[in-house]
Symmetry: C2
Subunit: 386 residues, 2 copies
C-alpha cells in the first residue's frame, strides 16, 4: 500500500524543506529558516548541522545584525557534486556538465552521422565519460546522468519508439547504466524541457505550465501542480498528433490533420520550399530583411500554433504556455499571430490566466532539464519529493 508515516518520514520531510529553502533563498540564517518554515529553532539547528556534515550546506560567515547577535549565513553547496544532462536530438547530441544548481560547467556538442543505436550509444557514452572526467573534484562526484530523448519513453527508461532516430525498443537506461556505472534517468525531450524551464528558466513562477517543444514535430511537457504529468504509461504529451482539421494534411503517423503538420518547424520549412529556403535560420534572415513572403509564412505558422495552444488553454487551464525548441528563434515573427489566435479561440476566463512566453533557456531547456532530472534523483534518495 502507501508509505506509512514514522519519525524518519517526518525528518525526511523537514530536511527536504530546509534544504530546498536554502537552495532557493540563500544566503539564509538558521533563525530565518525557522521563521519561514515554521519549524522550531532547535529542529532547524539539528537539520542544518546534518546538512553541513553531508557537505550539502556550508556557513559563509556572519550577516548583518538587526539589533542583536549577527546571524551565521548558510549557503547551498552547489559544488558538492555534478550532474550530466544530455539532449539526444535528431542529428546531434548536446551534453552538459552542471553543478547541483544547474550551472553549466562544461559542454559538448556532437553531430551524429548515423542514427542506429549501435552507432549512437558508444558516442553518447564517450561524450558522457569525457564530461565526467572534466568534473572538478567534489564530495559526491558525478551524481547521475539525465537524458532527454525525442521519442516515446516508458517509465523503465526504454525508448519504445523514436521516429527521428528510427529507434524501437532500445533499453537505453539499462544499457547506459551498465556501461557508465552511474545512475541514469531517461525522459522525454519535451518533459525534460518543461523541467528545465520550470527550474532554471521562464517557468519558475508557474505551477501549471505546458512546455511546447516545437521542432521537427511538436511535443508537450505538461506540468500540473509543479509536477510532470506522466500519463499511465509515461507517455503523455504527444500533442503534435492531435487533430485540428478532420480531413487535413496527411501525417507520418498515418493520420490526417495533425497539428504538427501545420505548426511545426518542419511544416514551416515545407511551406518555405518555394522560396528556396531549407533551414529556419535562412527564413528568419529573409524575414529580417523584409521579405513579405517570409513574414507571411511565419504568420501562418503562428496562427496554427495559436490554434493548438488555445486548445491546450481550454482543456488544461494552465497559467503558462512556453514555446521551446527551434521555433523560439521565430519569436519576433510569430508572437503576435499566436497571441491573437489564442485570444480569439480560447474562453475568456481561461485566456485571462494563461501567459504565453518563449523558452528562456533557448536550445538548453532539454539539456538542463535532463541534468535536473539526475540531480533530483540524487536528492530523492534520502529525501522526499516535494
Amino acid at each position: 500500500m502507501q508509505t506509512t508515516g514514522d519519525q524518519h518520514l517526518v525528518k525526511k520531510i523537514n530536511k527536504t524543506i530546509v534544504l530546498e529553502a536554502i537552495k532557493k533563498e540563500s544566503p539564509l540564517s538558521r533563525a530565518q529558516l525557522s521563521e519561514m518554515t515554521g519549524l522550531n529553532k532547535g529542529t532547524v539547528s539539528t537539520l542544518v548541522s546534518e546538512l553541513i556534515e553531508e557537505k550539502l550546506v556550508y556557513e559563509i560567515g556572519l550577516g548583518r545584525s538587526s539589533g542583536g547577535r549577527k546571524p551565521v549565513m548558510l549557503l547551498f553547496n552547489k559544488t558538492a557534486g555534478y550532474a550530466i544532462g544530455v539532449d539526444l536530438g535528431v542529428r546531434y547530441l548536446l551534453a552538459v556538465l552542471t553543478d547541483l544548481d544547474g550551472k553549466i560547467v562544461s559542454e559538448r556538442q556532437v553531430e551524429l552521422e548515423r542514427s542506429e543505436a549501435g552507432y549512437v550509444l558508444p558516442v553518447l557514452a564517450n561524450t558522457v565519460r569525457s564530461l565526467a572526467d572534466a568534473a572538478p573534484d567534489s564530495p559526491y562526484g558525478v551524481v547521475g546522468v539525465g537524458i532527454g530523448v525525442a521519442g516515446i519513453v516508458d517509465d523503465k527508461g526504454t525508448v519504445l519508439f523514436a521516429p527521428n532516430l528510427e529507434w524501437r525498443q532500445v533499453e537505453l537506461q539499462r544499457l547506459l547504466a551498465e556501461e557508465l556505472e552511474l545512475p541514469v534517468t531517461i525522459g522525454n525531450e519535451a518533459n525534460a524541457g518543461a523541467l528545465g524551464e520550470m527550474q532554471y528558466g521562464a517557468g519558475q513562477e508557474a505551477s501549471d505550465l505546458v512546455y511546447l517543444s516545437v521542432g521537427t514535430g511538436i511535443g508537450a511537457g505538461i506540468v500540473v501542480g509543479g509536477r510532470i504529468l506522466p500519463g499511465t504509461g509515461g507517455f503523455a504529451g504527444e500533442i503534435g498528433h492531435t487533430t485540428i482539421e478532420q480531413n487535413g494534411r496527411k501525417c507520418s503517423c498515418g493520420n490526417k490533420g495533425c497539428w504538427e503538420q501545420y505548426a511545426s518547424e518542419k511544416a514551416l520549412l515545407e511551406a518555405a520550399k518555394p522560396l528556396g529556403v531549407e533551414r529556419l535560420g535562412k527564413l528568419v534572415e529573409l524575414a529580417e530583411s523584409g521579405s513579405t513572403e517570409a513574414i507571411r509564412l511565419f504568420h501562418e505558422v503562428g496562427e496554427s500554433l495559436g490554434l493548438g495552444i488555445a486548445n491546450i488553454v481550454n482543456t488544461l487551464n494552465p497559467d503558462l504556455i512556453l514555446i521551446g525548441n527551434q521555433m523560439t528563434r521565430a519569436e519576433p515573427w510569430i508572437r503576435s499571430s499566436i497571441e491573437r489566435v489564442v485570444t480569439s479561440r480560447s474562453l475568456p476566463f481561461h485566456r485571462k490566466q494563461a501567459q504565453i512566453r518563449f523558452a528562456s533557456l533557448d536550445t538548453h531547456s532539454t539539456v538542463l532539464g535532463s541534468a535536473y532530472d539526475a540531480i533530483s534523483a540524487f536528492f530523492s534518495k534520502d529525501r522526499i519529493s516535494l
Copy 2:
C-alpha cells in the same frame, strides 16, 4: 511554506491509511490491517480503537480462524453520517442523500421552470433541506452538501459563468453555506462526474482517467494520479471548445469548429431535425426500430466523438476514457464508431493503454461525485488526503 512534519502528521497519515483500508477491503481484522499496511500491530490497535471511539468503525464479530485465535472483524460504519449530492443541470435539479459509502438513501428530482439564481437558489435550498430532514439519526448527521454545476466554477465556489443557466458571478458556495448552515462544496459537473465514476462507478481501477460529460455541450473531468486536475483557476476541462476543424461550424463561444459542435447531444439533435426528432430518446427509438438514417446520424456523432477522444488519448495518455451524461444512452449505436476512429487516430502505444467505456452510474455520476466531494471534505478535516 509547505506543511512541515511532526508526530501529528504521522498519525494523520497512518489513521487515514487504516480507515481507507477498512473502507475498501472490509471486513478486516487488526492483524490483517497490520499485515497489509506495514504498520505495527500495536499502532493499528490504537488507531482502530480511536476510530471506534469516533464511531467510524465498528466490530462485527469474530471471523474464521486460520489455525489460531479468531480475528475480530472490523467494518466501516457507513451510516455514521450522511451526505447530500446535487446535480444542478439545465432544466432540472437532481439531488440525493447518501450514506458515507455513497449508497443512495433518498432522492429528489425537480424540474426548474426558470433559470435565474433568484428562482433556483430557494428551490435548491428547499430540496436540500427536505433531504436533510429525511436523513436517519446518526452520530455525525448530514456532513455536507456537494453541488455539481454545469459551468465554470472557481476555487472559492463562485459560479463564474454557466451558459445554460445564464448565470454570471453567482457566489453559490457562500450563499448556500449561509442559508443551509452546512458545509457546502461546489464543483464543475464534469469533475463531479469523474469523481463519482472513479469512486463508485466504472473508474474504480483507473488512476488516470478522463470523464467526458457529453450533453448539451462537452465537458471533461480529468483525473491524474487519482486526483482531479483543476488547472490554475480551477477550470480545466472545457474541452468541448477545442477546435477540431479550423474553419468549421460556428459555436456559441464565438469560435469556429469547436468539438461540441460535432459530437455533443445538441449537435446530434441538430442533425436529426430533418427527421422530425427533437429528443435523444426519440432518436434512440428510431435507431432501435431500424431506421438507417438515425443509425447513420449516431455513427457520425460517434466518429466525431472518437476524433476528440483520440486527441485526449495522445495528449494525456490516460488508461480510461469514460463517456457520461446523456450520450450514454446512445452506447449501442456509437460505441463501434468511437472505437474505430480512436484506434485509427491515436498513436499505437497510447491506444493500447486506453480503454473506452461508458459511465456505469448513468445519470447519477455527477450527483454521486458531488456527494463524494462533501464526504471527502468531511474526512479531510482531521485526516490527510491520500
